[in-house]
């Protein structure tokens, strides 16, 4: 049973980037607002609040989801991963993030955290995509700065380097 406070807020327990977390929210509070305003995350960026731009994308139980189209109460007991989940133990960028930097895949960087989450989930399911599939995945996001060229290059490079690694005999 959800715990409801006297002012109508619900206590939400969830797993945030691998660690237990909790916070209170009204039933109508968007997950994006909850994570920014209650959980104090800076990496969830709100771009359109109607599910088109993709900037607020994160993963819920592994699946990419728009946090602006999700209510906070919907994540009770679930796993939420943001771009922080990609960082190494000392906060270092992973291969995909580093490739984004190498190929100048971001300018203002507002859309980037969402794109990294979609791309990560996509590459887990489809480790060897062609350029057309990569572009199709990226089409769930709007970037106004880059023309997408650097992102396509970065993802292609990560696909190649991951697949080369996976072929190395143990």
């Amino acid at each position: 049973m959800p715990q409801v406070t006297s002012d109508g807020r619900t206590l939400i327990n969830f797993i945030l980037n691998g660690k237990p977390a909790s916070g209170q929210a009204e039933p109508r509070m968007l997950l994006s607002d909850f994570l920014r305003q209650v959980a104090g995350l800076t990496e969830v960026h709100v771009g359109c609040e109607h599910g088109i731009c993709g900037a607020c994308t994160l993963r819920i139980d592994g699946e990419p989801a728009r946090s602006c189209l999700t209510f906070a109460v919907q994540i009770e007991g679930r796993r939420v991963d943001t771009v922080q989940s990609l960082l190494g133990p000392r906060g270092e960028l992973n291969d995909l993030q580093a490739a984004f930097r190498k190929h100048h895949s971001l300018q203002c960087g507002y859309c980037t955290t969402g794109i990294l989450m979609s791309a990560t989930a996509f590459l887990e399911k489809n480790p060897n995509p062609g350029e057309e599939e990569i572009r199709d995945m990226l089409s769930g996001h709007i970037c106004r700065c880059t023309g997408y060229v650097g992102m396509v290059r970065a993802i292609k490079e990560v696909v190649a380097s991951r697949s080369a690694k996976s072929k190395v005999p143990a």
């Binding site: 109508r28 969830v44 088109i52 960028l93 709007i142 106004r144 997408y148």
Partner: protein
């Protein structure tokens, strides 16, 4: 031929960005993530649903009663606490931060609610009651310019608020002697690059020192700072403007947030607490700004061989409802270079500035360039077509000749360097134009629509801050005093341990300025770029700034980067003197490298960089005689070449002029009208590239938006001024599937006017791409009047002709004409009761209340005239409405007219419907048709769903009428919709 460029250890290298790690890790702080003072309140803005209306009254009492609401401000409070914004023209067209007495565009701010959080503030908007008297609106620029059009600002007496004529050389003679005059009129649409992060303003009025402390993602130019401080009736230093280091895109658009800055300042003063406002996407698309739509009638006087001897341009530029400073920048920013890349010595320009009932126009990347080059380059393509020449030959015949630089264009631009012929030749060779032509031949042989387009652009950078004074006459300019220049600031500081930090006035919005500043300063001081810390925040109370401060007109590489170079050189000179003093060698023999300061002739004689810097901090007494202690230097830079306009109205509108030449090959699908960009080659000469990785990023990004502008992006308005593109499902930004990768070619002809040799690179592609695609489309289809955006339905209509009329028997009956997001429909229903019984239901108020979907209250206000309260929804959006309903032309029990209007927070609607009743066997056949206009939020966000929603509501109305007449209560839920399925099966002959 690639010219030798200045390459240092860091400058000129494709260094990865220092900005990226925090962004990729999600740790970069955008404005909405910055800390706020305890007690911060949140604002929400009520906006006009009308394009033009008188505000009769605003009742805020009920909104104020809502729990959590602290204040509601209207125009009354704004008028008490502020003055109207200064504008460029002396015209009676005041604008304030909230509408006063009248609204002039859909989305105009009418009231602001300040509450404990944004959810509560937005809820309270619904309780503000505004009575409007709608007035005729004018939307189309040409219509607005006509005599007798509804006036946006009646006190001005005309919607055309500025008209200036310019003549350079002897255009009359050139036109008289022309072999042919080629003419074209273009309509450039209204669009915007729409940053993903909207406006954010936090205002905190500090009563104790009467300072408005503002944190916002305003991007400059700070010419607007005096506009805001004057509106707030304070001295400049009392308006503290701070901006964060990271901004989620700007593209010029974050200049136009200044009315909100003033609004939140007043709100904060009124409530005595800090107030924060974060714009949402609907607000941004509806009411932020758009690039001005423009009509250009362009004419070229030509010789038979394709040589153009003169141009005539008549421009009508649409600034929407208000002229916000620095408007009308887009009309004058490139005035000096209206001849583009061509050596044409004669020209007339007529500039007319028109006001309409649309969102005010503003700064959008390219700033007039996409419009101008659309006119110029489409005209050059037409010159070729009409003279039977190859468009590329016409371009080459007219390009400014190599070797004629510095070249003074007839309207005043001083094009300082370039080699256009070489750039074009490189594009043809390395872009493999031959191959592209072969693809076109092959495609055409197969009956496909394939075309090749070209575009030539001279890319201006670092605006002359005096260009806007060209709008004034020579006499007016003399009176006001000369205006020119573009002052840039940067500071370089070395701390006691040798740590180097840099600040600058460029307010980056994602371009990577910190990276380039690190490169420039590192090369001067002989240290590693990675060891430099750049703080890109700006604070007008603590940092040097000028009216030119900000991020616009591609001024970074030719202005701010140069000021950083100057600051670094000052630091270097000072450190060289200190080292020379200690080492006992002349200062001019001191070198800097690898973190060492040394004697060039004898590198063994060296000091650590940190030691030299430390001397200035730790032991001023050991400094050379007369030297000031400390190690912080300010670099200031403004080039002398950007002078005020002269008495012949010639103006060097920018400091540097780069060159862009594009080639596009595209195919048009005959069946769907979809355009596929097959190949795109873009050639740039932007002088020295300070960081090629970032330079290419600017080109790719500019190209991406250019593709959007060419193929899909447009702000759409109904004839009545309702705004119809309020979501990213209506305003279509291109995705990775629509934007191909262009081939980029570079040459580097240094600018002799900037110490780094760099020109601008941020805007050329947004100027060249739309028209290059349009020229390729024109080549593919032979169409002369190419109107952007070339979306599939428009292209299909162009290449396939008008759709055939409906087959006989299915023709829609003539219905009430609508002008906004006009909905029309028709239908019929069967009621198993006599016409008399149906009629009785219809004119009985109690029953009518039950028949009208969502009606919670209905009261008679006169014979057959009612006021009602309704709750209606479109998609996920549901809202309360107040309705006026009148039944007229009642011919019992045969026919009647229902007319009226709806008004509510989601928008308003006016409409009319006809009903006829016909006795048929077993009951009554009801036939109806309707037509109504919708404006406001519903029209902006729900356009795609409105037709369906209207049909559903109408259907509900008649179902309820039927069931109520039969004497049954209206079911809470609609009956299962089995009927269409059955009808389908019946139509297919499967069921009966």
């Amino acid at each position: 031929m690639k010219q030798e460029a200045h390459i240092g250890k860091f400058v000129g290298r494709p260094m990865e960005r220092v900005e990226d790690a925090p962004l990729l890790a999600g740790q970069a702080l955008f404005c909405d993530s910055l800390p706020t003072r305890p007690g911060v309140l949140h604002a929400a803005i009520l906006r006009s649903p009308h394009a033009q209306a008188e505000i009769l009254s605003i009742d805020t009492a009920e909104a104020l009663r809502q729990p959590g609401v602290v204040a509601v401000l209207t125009g009354k409070e704004i008028k008490e606490d502020s003055d109207p914004f200064l504008i460029v023209l002396r015209k009676p067209m005041d604008q304030w931060s909230l509408a006063i007495d009248r609204v002039r565009f859909v989305g105009e701010s009418v009231a602001v609610v300040v509450a404990k959080d944004r959810y509560v503030a937005e809820d309270a908007l619904d309780y503000i009651k505004v009575a409007y008297k709608p007035l005729p609106a004018v939307i189309d620029a040409r219509e607005a310019a006509k005599e007798g059009a509804p006036l946006v600002h009646p006190a001005c007496g005309s919607n055309v608020v500025s008209e200036r004529h310019f003549s350079y050389g002897d255009p009359d003679k050139a036109f008289a002697e022309a072999d042919k005059v080629v003419e074209l009129t273009i309509d450039y649409p209204r669009n915007s690059q729409t940053p993903l992060e909207g406006y954010v303003v936090m205002a905190d009025y500090r009563q104790e020192d009467k300072v408005y402390d503002v944190v916002s993602n305003f991007q400059g130019p700070f010419t607007v700072h005096p506009v805001m401080s004057k509106a707030l009736r304070v001295k400049g230093p009392q308006l503290r403007m701070r901006s964060p280091a990271y901004s989620g895109g700007g593209f010029g658009i974050k200049q136009a947030m200044f009315p909100y800055v003033v609004l939140m300042c007043i709100a904060s003063k009124r409530v005595g607490r800090p107030v924060k406002w974060v714009e949402d996407r609907l607000e941004h698309l509806t009411a932020a700004i758009a690039a001005p739509n423009r009509v250009i009638r362009a004419r070229a006087a030509c010789k038979k061989d394709g040589k153009v001897t003169a141009f005539r341009f008549e421009q009508l530029d649409d600034y929407g409802a208000y002229l916000r400073p620095p408007m009308p920048g887009p009309l004058y920013r490139q005035h000096g270079i209206m001849t583009g890349g061509y050596d044409v010595k004669n020209m007339t320009i007529t500039n007319r500035l028109v006001m309409t009932n649309k969102t005010p126009s503003g700064m959008v990347r390219g700033f007039g360039g996409p419009q101008i080059y659309y006119g110029l380059e489409r005209l050059m393509q037409r010159v070729a077509v009409e003279l039977g020449l190859d468009p590329l030959d016409v371009i080459r015949k007219n390009l400014i000749p190599a070797g004629s630089f510095p070249y003074r264009a007839c309207a005043g631009a001083l094009v300082e360097s370039g080699d256009y012929q070489t750039a074009v030749a490189m594009a043809i060779r390395d872009g493999k134009l031959d191959e592209l032509k072969a693809r076109r031949e092959k495609a055409r042989a197969e009956g496909r629509l394939y075309g090749i387009g070209y575009a030539v652009v001279v890319e201006p950078a670092q605006s002359n801050m005096g260009y806007l004074s060209t709008i004034n006459t020579v006499e007016e300019r003399r009176k006001a005093g000369p205006k020119g220049g573009n002052v840039a600031y940067a500071t370089v500081a070395v701390d006691p341990l040798g740590g180097v930090s840099v600040t600058a006035d460029s307010l980056p919005q994602g371009q990577g300025h910190a990276t380039v500043l690190s490169q420039v300063v590192a090369d001067e001081l002989g240290i590693d770029a990675a060891d430099i810390v750049c703080n890109m925040e700006r604070d007008t109370q603590r940092d040097p700034w000028s009216i030119a401060t900000g991020n616009y007109s591609s001024r970074f590489s030719s202005a701010t980067a140069v000021s950083a170079l100057h600051a670094a050189r000052k630091v270097r000179a000072k450190m060289a003197r200190i080292a020379a003093h200690v080492l006992g060698v002349p200062a001019e023999r001191i070198g800097f490298a690898e973190g060492k300061v040394f004697c060039i002739e004898d590198p063994e004689k060296s000091l650590r960089f940190s030691r030299v810097a430390g001397t200035a901090h730790w032991s001023p007494s050991e400094l050379p005689p007369g030297m000031e202690p400390g190690m912080t230097e300010i670099g200031v830079w403004s080039a002398p070449e950007i002078e005020p306009p002269n008495d012949a109205d010639q103006i060097n509108t920018s400091l540097t002029y780069g060159f862009v030449f594009d080639i596009c090959g595209l195919e048009v699908d005959r069946d769907t009208g979809k355009i596929r960009i097959d190949r795109y080659i873009t050639t740039h000469d932007s002088g020295v590239l300070l960081n090629p990785l970032l330079a290419n990023g600017q080109i790719y990004g500019g190209f991406g938006w250019g593709v959007g502008a060419a193929l899909s992006e447009q702000f759409v308005y109904g004839e009545d001024g309702s705004f119809l593109s309020g979501t990213f499902s209506d305003y279509l930004c291109p995705t990775a599937c629509e934007v191909p990768e262009p081939q980029i070619l570079h040459m580097e002809t240094p600018s002799p006017l900037t110490p780094l040799g760099a020109k601008g690179i941020g805007e050329g592609s947004v100027m060249s791409t739309p028209v290059c695609i349009a020229n390729a489309f024109a080549d593919a289809t032979g169409i002369k009047d190419v109107k952007l955006p070339l979306n599939p339905w428009k292209v299909a209509a162009l290449i396939q002709g008008e759709e055939p009329p409906r087959p006989k028997g299915q023709a829609a009956p003539a219905r009430a004409r609508t002008s906004g997001k006009g909905l029309q429909g028709e239908g019929s229903a069967f009621v198993p009761a006599t016409p008399e019984q149906v009629w009785a239901t219809l004119i009985n108020p109690e029953k009518l209340a039950q028949v009208i979907p969502g009606c919670s209250k209905l009261e008679a206000v006169g014979p057959n005239s009612y006021r009602a309260e309704l709750s209606l929804g479109v998609g996920a959006v549901r809202g309360r409405f107040e309705a006026r309903i009148t039944l007229s032309n009642l011919k019992a029990p045969k026919s009647g007219v229902i007319s009226g209007g709806l008004q509510g927070p989601l928008g308003s609607s006016e409409g009319v419907g006809n009903i006829t009743l016909e006795a048929v066997s077993g009951g009554t056949q009801l036939n109806y048709d309707y037509g109504f206009d919708i404006s406001g939020k519903v029209a902006a966000v729900g356009g795609r769903m409105l037709d369906g929603t209207a049909r559903v509501i109408m259907k509900q109305f008649f179902e309820r009428l039927a069931s109520l007449t039969e004497g049954r209560a209206v079911a809470a839920a609609a009956p299962p919709p089995a009927s269409w399925w059955k009808r389908l099966l019946k139509a297919l002959g499967i069921a009966r």
